[in-house]
């Protein structure tokens, strides 16, 4: 067991290093601005006094490395500075919105993961039949469609024409969970459509990969029925890739949420990021990017660690 701990901690350490490098990129990218932040925000017509005041306020007179460490130290404790546009602390705007985004992503994941694994096993069982071909074409179409296309189709059919669900997913803290789930059903469904397609294909591929193994052949020769081969012999060995698939798609959910939030006017962090980019509100952009990147890396890490833990062969590398 000592081995596995060291592998996992190595992976975690690598994740922390990656995150640090990314924080440098996010911070450094803003430093690359032609001129500096003050000039970019105030524009060509700014007077010298205004520029100086803004630089003073942002502490731009100090060297970049010092400001980087300050920024990072504050970010770790949850302080991302103040928005250039509204002058509000960034963390205030972000915290509720991030919770909303997580809520939406989890909602989608709760529907998507069981459905995708079930369907993935099903098409692996009926591979190369008509159903498999149809599933292949349908999932490919769903993957290839931009999220806003799926979103607007759902709005058109399930909201405008039939009125089953609201087209705009405005939620606030006062609402009950049922209300929230109803309001956010369409954005969640949009993401479910994309993610299920991805997960289904990957689950199918990893199960079919395993079906070529000798022990599956053995089980077949024994006369084990096809579904039992999959459920008892293949699936337990497919957990590692499947966990990987799930974690990767959750990571996708967290970032793919940006477009969906804009389509449904959902008060999440993605919309905040897009607004901040249009207004060139750099502290907000930096904070949002850092949070997205951190979540993404965390979930990728979870994928790696999960597949190490479920695979005996990875636990004892040669």
């Amino acid at each position: 067991m000592g081995d596995i701990l060291s592998i996992v901690s190595k992976r975690l350490g690598l994740g922390v290093v990656t995150l640090l490098v990314i924080s440098i990129i996010i911070f450094g990218a803003v430093e690359l601005l032609p001129g500096d932040i003050a000039q970019a925000v105030l524009g060509q017509g700014a007077t010298e006094e205004n520029l100086a005041a803004m630089r003073e306020q942002l502490g731009l007179d100090r060297a970049a490395p010092i400001r980087y460490f300050e920024w990072l130290g504050n970010a770790v404790t949850g302080d991302f500075g103040r928005s250039l546009v509204s002058q509000q602390p960034v963390s205030e705007a972000i915290s509720t919105r991030f919770a909303n985004t997580l809520f939406l992503a989890l909602y989608a994941a709760f529907i998507a993961v069981p459905v995708a694994i079930f369907l993935g096993v099903l098409v692996a069982l009926y591979r190369n039949t008509v159903f498999d071909r149809v599933a292949n074409v349908v999932t490919l179409t769903s993957i290839s469609s931009p999220e806003f296309f799926l979103g607007y189709i759902l709005i058109l059919f399930l909201s405008v024409q039939t009125g089953y669900f609201p087209a705009i997913a405005k939620i606030d803290d006062g609402m009950s969970l049922i209300d929230k789930l109803d309001r956010t059903f369409l954005p969640a469904l949009t993401m479910v459509l994309v993610v299920v397609a991805h997960m289904m294909r990957m689950t199918r591929a990893s199960i079919i990969n395993l079906l070529a193994s000798p022990y599956v052949e053995m089980a077949r020769l024994k006369g084990v029925p096809a579904w039992k081969v999959i459920v008892k012999h293949t699936l337990p060995n497919a957990w590692a890739p499947v966990i990987n698939v799930v974690a990767l798609n959750l990571a996708y959910l967290i970032t793919g949420v940006v477009l969906v939030e804009v389509v449904f006017v959902y008060p999440g962090i993605g919309q905040l990021l897009v607004d901040a980019v249009t207004k060139r509100d750099f502290p907000v952009v930096q904070a949002c990017c850092l949070i997205f990147a951190a979540t993404f890396i965390l979930l990728n890490l979870a994928a790696d660690v999960g597949s190490i833990l479920t695979n005996p062969r990875l636990r004892h590398p040669k």
């Binding site: 990656t18 490098v21 990314i22 990129i25 996010i26 990218a29 803003v30 690359l32 601005l33 591979r127 190369n128 039949t129 008509v130 159903f131 149809v134 074409v137 490919l140 179409t141 993957i143 290839s144 469609s145 931009p146 999220e147 806003f148 296309f149 607007y152 189709i153 709005i155 058109l156 405008v160 024409q161 087209a167 079919i208 079906l211 070529a212 990571a251 967290i254 970032t255 793919g256 940006v258 477009l259 804009v262 389509v263 990021l273 897009v274 901040a276 980019v277 249009t278 060139r280 750099f282 952009v285 930096q286 949002c288 990017c289 997205f292 990147a293 993404f296 890396i297 990728n300």
Partner: protein
């Protein structure tokens, strides 16, 4: 019960019985499950639902017919070795090639095909379709149809340029790293790891917020974000080729690195790289569409599919499908490229699932 409903079910049941009689297992399964599904749909949605099933089936049959004839057309036109591969291509690949061909025609001859210019205001805002405007007008009174045709040139063109640039950078660096190995290989590998660990949409938003959104920056930013994927593939494909004996022989002949890459490694790793080009194009195309949809991609008044969806989105709340057409155009091209890539991957790997 009217004649349409009776005819609908009679046809489905009749044809599926025929399929069963002639032992066409696949066709029977497909038709009979369609019959069962339309029973449920008929009960839930009534005649209107059955009409949409009929129209959908007709569309699928039509596109299957088109793909079949296009495939046969290519088989006749292409030289012998390509024609042989073409003959065994699945219908989906034929369909994909046909769609790509159509888009290419639309993009190249946009000014000739489109009745109006992309920025010409010719009518009032959101004017409905009439004999002059096939699809009505957009939010400023420009012809929707012309803008969609021009979009094929602008959106696809930009995505194609970005993909080519990403590919040139990624493939060159990847093959070079595979050939040289050592410190440089390690270093590039780490850089690529870091870039790939940032979600691409987020990274492009960050970079675009800093460098602004003009076409050239857009292309460069997207190329930088997607080059690492190509690098990884080129590195691993190249790595497999580099260990071959003929590379050793070429090295002993005293050939330089660039010769090795161009004449020995590239020809032997082109198949997976070409397939990757298609996949990469899909990713880039979706990213460009997404960015334009967010208002951060191609800037107005240039016609672009992503921003057209956003600008006309209000029409959807009136039950109009016009804003969905540019979005569908994006989806259709991506699907088409994916179909072709699927087929190419299948051919190049000789991958035969059991």
């Amino acid at each position: 019960m009217n004649y349409f409903i009776i005819g609908f079910y009679a046809l489905l049941i009749g044809v599926s019985s025929l399929a069963a009689f002639y032992q066409k297992r696949t066709a029977f399964l497909l038709l009979f499950s369609l019959t069962l599904v339309s029973f449920i749909m008929g009960i839930v949605g009534g005649e209107a639902m059955l009409w949409s099933v009929t129209i959908l089936a007709g569309l699928i049959a039509f596109s299957a017919g088109v793909s079949f004839s296009f495939r046969e057309f290519l088989v006749i036109l292409l030289p012998a070795d390509l024609a042989k591969a073409m003959r065994t291509a699945p219908l989906t690949a034929g369909f994909g090639l046909f769609v790509i061909f159509t888009y290419a025609i639309a993009g190249i001859f946009a000014p000739i095909i489109a009745p109006y210019g992309e920025a010409d205001v010719i009518s009032s805002a959101f004017a409905p379709a009439d004999e002059n405007m096939l699809l009505g007008a957009d939010q400023l009174g420009r012809d929707m149809f012309s803008r969609i045709i021009y979009g094929a040139r602008n959106t696809v063109g930009l995505a194609l340029l970005a993909t080519i640039l990403a590919f040139a950078m990624g493939a060159t660096a990847g093959l070079y790293a595979a050939t040289v190995g050592g410190k440089l290989d390690q270093l590039l590998g780490r850089v690529v790891d870091v870039i790939m660990s940032i979600p691409s949409l987020i990274f492009s938003l960050l970079l675009l917020s800093i460098f602004g959104t003009n076409t050239v920056t857009l292309i460069i930013v997207i190329a930088i974000i997607y080059a690492p994927r190509v690098f990884r593939l080129a590195r691993s494909v190249g790595g497999n080729v580099v260990v071959m004996d003929y590379i050793e022989a070429a090295k002993l002949r005293g050939e330089g690195n660039w010769y090795l890459i161009r004449k020995e490694i590239l020809p032997n790793s082109s198949a997976p790289l070409i397939a990757e080009f298609g996949l990469e194009f899909c990713f880039v195309f979706l990213l460009v569409a997404g960015l334009s949809f967010l208002g951060l991609g191609i800037q107005p008044p240039t016609a672009d599919w992503g921003s057209m969806v956003r600008e006309n989105a209000t029409l959807i709340s009136f039950g109009e499908i016009t804003p969905l057409i540019p979005a569908a155009a994006i989806a259709l091209l991506t699907v088409a490229v994916n179909f072709v890539v699927d087929w190419m991957l299948f051919m190049s790997s000789g991958l035969k699932e059991q």
